[in-house]
Amino acid sequence: MGLFSRKKRDTTDDPTIDDTPDVDLRYDTPTPTDPREDFADLVDREWERLANAGTWWSGAERLAIASDARQALAGEELSGILPAPVEEATRRVAAEPASIRGTDVARWEMDGLDPYGYIEIVGIISRLMAIDTASYGLGLPLHEFPTAIGGEPTRTKPDGSAITTGWAPTVGPATAPSSLSAVPVEAEAMFDVHGVLYLSLDQMFEMQIEREGLSRPQIELIAARTSSLNDCFY
């Protein structure tokens, strides 16, 4: 259907004919999406990303990182299958992110963890925490991890990526939008999650936007309190 529909009608002088304009001006607005359906679709996309080889890690390695991240947040023993610097980075990003310092990232690099591989670890775990936290609040059980899919990491670095104002590589200064930019597919995945759970980048500038009855100040209150609980300054 077009933007709106009209039924054509013959309007003559016949008094038996109702001359009331028979025009249906109801707009065919897009079908509102169900946030829970959007969330389920997001989980499907994220699980597909998780199971496939990334830029620096295979699907099996990405799943091992995710699984250990869940264990770490729950305070449980890790699997022991990841190399030591990868395991430590996984535990710290999942359970103690505010404790990470540049000296840690430098030490992990000396022990064999490439800083670009570290960025992918950050992407995997941060999105997992988004999915798991939202699931908990929605009253859903933790989603079972998928099975790894074959494939090899591409190990490519984007032009212009370097360590600038942060302690891990970014394209440009280290900021929220550029945080995972040194591994572009991880950055794209982060924006996907950001748009479904919170706001798209375009919507960020709409201070009067509402989502499911929450006003923008209410949305930002949740954001600020979450950051405070995570000991995060941003």
Partner: protein
Amino acid sequence: MLRASISTFDGTLSPQPLVTGVGETGVDHDGALLAFVDAVVLRDDDELGPAREWIDIALGPDAADRAAMVAGNFSMMNRALDAIGAPVDRGLESVAEEMGLEIPAHLAPTPHPR
């Protein structure tokens, strides 16, 4: 963002409860929202049910769902920013001072050598 958004509604923000979790912020239904976010982020099984009920009544179940998703999103963003050592924006210095917080040296709003 919170201050910018609340000012578009001619409101005034009291930021201290964002740190303490107690008190009035100037945002409608802040008590229900703070209780729910605390339960979700801290994965508090005992508090989640009552907090969910409170927010369901105050704002509706769809709003509660969205609140859970926003908390999820910022659990992601917090980790991404902390993990890469992004310096705190200079504009947040005054807000931090107002909230009685000191920006840690490693996040100071100036580039820091690795």
